[in-house]
């Protein structure tokens, strides 16, 4: 009896041992494929139009070992390789073979499309990337005015040693400048499918064309710039100012810095921004004002007629940023006058921007459609209204309520 118990115990242990070995073998292939030695981490993907309807796909990799060897004062080198293939997945496959490692997209921070490709439609690439379990929905989407490969080559962050860190934080300034959106692939995919909105991407470019008469320009010109046309000169050759507006998956237009700020203000995605309004006492000079949204922008959409009527109400508090001789910012009348001027100026800017999206782009990038949903009892009713196509017939009313409170440290000069 005792011998039988011992035998049973031995058989049980052998069974457990075989089971453990089997499971180690079964799961080791999955773990090996995810081993850091077998992977090449892609930081940026650039997609251009290649020859014969092919795609020219560029991959930028981090070289972890070199980065640690170089120390903290030197910039970590990156590697960039390009491949031409009929599809994005074929390009990844070819690059896997070339690198001798499997490409891993779990640290991919930015996906760049060339303007030329974006104009033809990028839904196939977006769907493929979203289908990949490794791609994060927070990866940013950039549409480059130049070749995507050139944009990647020119990007050289000045204040960061690691390019991955730069790409992780490069959209942060949108919260306090309003000059670029934090457009991600997750939001892009959501908007491509959505029946109440259209997608946008960050407008990227390189510092090549300098605006003519630089230096003599009006102060307002600084707000009308966009990527490829900025007066910036620096070590980092790439720039990201403006929005690339899409209709479905096709690029239909671009927005400049001021229009991007308007877009973000309407979407409640900007914490503060600077505007230059005409000085009410001197038509030739301008006053810089920091504006802080008072609350969420109120949007009302009337769909009782075939042409949607959209009312936009926004409120801001302002602080005067620029100072000159004879500034009297403790006088309530002056502040009221400035507030009124600011209202008029912003109403005109908002209105121009909205009509541009409606008449020129014919694309509801602001997602006003969602505010129209409550006008319908059923989805069929909303579908029959054909919002996305009807947006081109929309007309707008903008009401801005700005109250300029004071200047900053100096109140009177």
């Amino acid at each position: 009896m005792k011998g039988e118990v011992i035998l049973n115990e031995i058989v049980k242990n052998i069974f457990i041992f075989i089971l453990v070995v089997l499971f180690v073998m079964a799961f080791s292939s999955s773990y090996l494929s995810l081993s850091i030695d077998n992977l090449a981490y892609v930081l940026v993907i650039g997609i251009d139009k290649g020859k014969d309807n092919n795609l020219e796909v560029s991959f930028q990799f981090s070289t972890a070992s070199k980065a640690s060897e170089t120390g903290s004062t030197e910039k970590a080198p990156t590697v960039m390789d390009t491949v031409e293939a009929p599809s994005l997945s074929a390009a990844i496959n070819l690059m896997d073979s070339y690198m001798g490692k499997e490409l891993n997209l779990s640290h991919c921070k930015v996906i760049i499309f060339s303007e030329e490709l974006a104009e033809e439609g990028i839904s196939e690439e977006i769907y493929t990337l979203i289908n990949d379990t490794q791609v994060r929905p927070s990866a940013n989407i950039v549409v480059s005015k130049c070749n995507a490969k050139l944009y990647m080559e020119q990007t050289s962050p000045e204040l960061e040693n690691l390019i991955s860190k730069y790409y992780e934080t490069f959209t942060n300034s949108s919260k306090y400048t309003g000059f670029k959106p934090d457009a991600t692939i997750g939001d892009f995919f959501n908007s491509v499918i959505c029946k109440t909105c259209e997608p946008v991407a960050i407008l990227g470019g390189i510092s090549t064309e300098k605006p003519e008469n630089q230096g003599n320009n009006h102060i307002q010109e600084n707000y009308n710039v966009k990527s490829n046309q900025t007066p910036i000169e620096g070590e980092n050759g790439s720039e990201n100012i403006g929005i690339a507006a899409f209709k479905d998956d096709k690029l239909v237009g671009e927005l400049c810095a001021l229009e991007t700020t308007t877009f973000l203000a309407i979407k409640n995605e900007v914490d503060r921004f600077l505007v230059s309004i005409p000085d009410p006492d001197d038509v030739n000079s301008y006053i810089d004002i920091y504006l802080y949204p008072k609350g969420s922008t109120s949007i009302d959409v009337d769909t009782s007629s075939p042409s949607p009527f959209i009312k936009v109400k926004a409120g801001f508090t302002g602080k005067i940023y620029s100072m000159s001789n004879n500034s009297q910012y403790l006088d309530p009348d002056i502040l009221n006058k400035l507030s009124e001027t600011c209202n008029k100026y912003l109403e005109s800017v908002f209105s121009d921007y909205l009509y541009k999206t409606s008449k020129e782009f014919k694309s509801d990038i602001n997602g006003f459609g969602k505010y129209a949903l409550n006008n319908f009892f059923t989805t069929q009713g909303f579908n029959d209204y054909n919002w996305l196509n009807n947006y081109r017939n929309a007309f707008f009313e903008v009401q801005i309520d700005t109250s300029i409170k004071s200047s900053m440290l100096i109140t009177e000069t």
Partner: protein
């Protein structure tokens, strides 16, 4: 099994196990597809019906104190009918848990184990279930008591962590595809409350059977709130679940959680919690299936059944050739199984048994 009695909270968590597992799988997506923007209204409607149904069920079971649906079936139609009902419930537990397991493992394979054969992933769960079933029934219940609240908390966290990405206007148009679709065709979403099935088997195991009504109402109430939270997260965050099919919809929502650049990629924690919840669900359903089998066959102990039921679950889960077939079962056949067995067969047995009891009472009182 009857030696280990179940407390009130343990019983509530037991009922919640089914809905938790279903929501991890494709249930929220299916509800969204069927009701579109009217999903929340539809859920409030079907939740009210489910609460009324469970109230009725408890009322009807009151006349058979300490008996489960199998005992009541025997009272109604004798041993043959008892065996038929028992086999239906055993098959229901085995088939539904196997297919849910297969779908969950397919998703795990896609996300984490691309190079591993699906059999090994399923076998891991089967080993866990067989080991848990060898322990006392209370061991599974206590584990369930820990894991299910963890899943509930994780879903509340998921809801609040993603709140900044919500578009609440997606609740409109308020009636989605129309009143008929929302309130008549939408009745099919009652299948989300498959947890009611456990209520049929609880009475013999309860420490305090008089609290059956409390257990039923609280568990269905929490299920309703939980389901509304899950579906609201998806409805408010994404426009695409109505048109696009994605594996584990809630996993997709977890990928968006980010707190600065430090707290990112929290989806692994969610998946770990869900894996534990799935193991608990399998353990509980197989235990109930074995309990029914023991009752039907009058065997002394269920120990020899543990491995057989484990192998049966493994076998059934491997029947579908691919994910498309198992997904079709889960989305198109499973809801009808729940509606047919839980909401039609179960309540019909209870109604008829009550009528029979009333009739017998009348005959007895007349003869006296």
């Amino acid at each position: 099994m009857t030696k280990s009695k179940i407390g009130t909270i343990e019983a509530i968590m037991l009922v919640l196990t089914i809905i938790v597992t279903q929501t991890i799988s494709s249930l929220p997506r299916e509800i969204l597809v069927s009701s579109k923007s009217a999903t929340i209204i539809n859920l409030i409607f079907v939740s009210t019906l489910a609460i009324l149904f469970s109230y009725l069920m408890v009322k009807l079971m009151k006349n058979f104190a300490g008996s489960d649906i199998i005992d009541i079936s025997e009272y109604l139609g004798g041993k043959v009918f008892k065996n038929i009902v028992g086999i239906i419930f055993i098959l229901y537990f085995l088939v539904s848990s196997s297919i849910l397991l297969r779908n969950f493992c397919e998703s795990l394979k896609i996300i984490y184990y691309p190079m591993t054969n699906i059999v090994f992933i399923i076998v891991l769960f089967i080993i866990a279930v067989c080991t848990a079933n060898r322990l006392d029934f209370n061991a599974s219940l206590k584990t369930n008591l820990l894991i299910v609240p963890l899943v509930l908390v994780s879903i509340v966290f998921l809801f609040f962590a993603n709140m900044n990405k919500f578009v609440p206007q997606r609740i409109f148009p308020i009636f989605g595809d129309g009143l008929y679709n929302t309130f008549i065709l939408g009745l099919g979403n009652l299948s989300a409350f498959g947890g009611i099935t456990f209520l049929y088997f609880l009475p013999p195991y309860l420490k305090e059977p008089e609290k059956m009504k409390k257990i039923a109402l609280i568990s269905i109430g929490i299920s309703a709130i939980y389901l509304i939270l899950c579906v609201s997260t998806l409805l408010f965050m994404f426009s695409f679940f109505i048109n696009t099919n994605e594996i584990i919809p809630l996993y997709n929502a977890t990928r968006y959680i980010e707190f600065g650049s430090f707290f990112q990629r929290l989806e692994s924690i969610f998946l770990l919690i869900w894996i534990l919840a799935f193991a608990c669900y399998l353990s509980v359903t197989s235990k109930f299936a074995m309990g029914i089998f023991k009752k039907l066959t009058n065997i002394e102990t269920k120990k020899p059944l543990i491995d057989i039921f484990g192998i049966l679950i493994l076998g059934i889960s491997l029947i579908p050739k691919n994910y498309a077939i198992s997904d079709k079962f889960e989305t198109e056949i499973y809801p009808f199984l729940v509606l047919g067995i839980t909401f039609f067969l179960g309540i019909s047995i209870l109604l008829l048994a009550n009528l029979l009891k009333k009739k017998q009472k009348n005959i007895t009182s007349k003869s006296e």
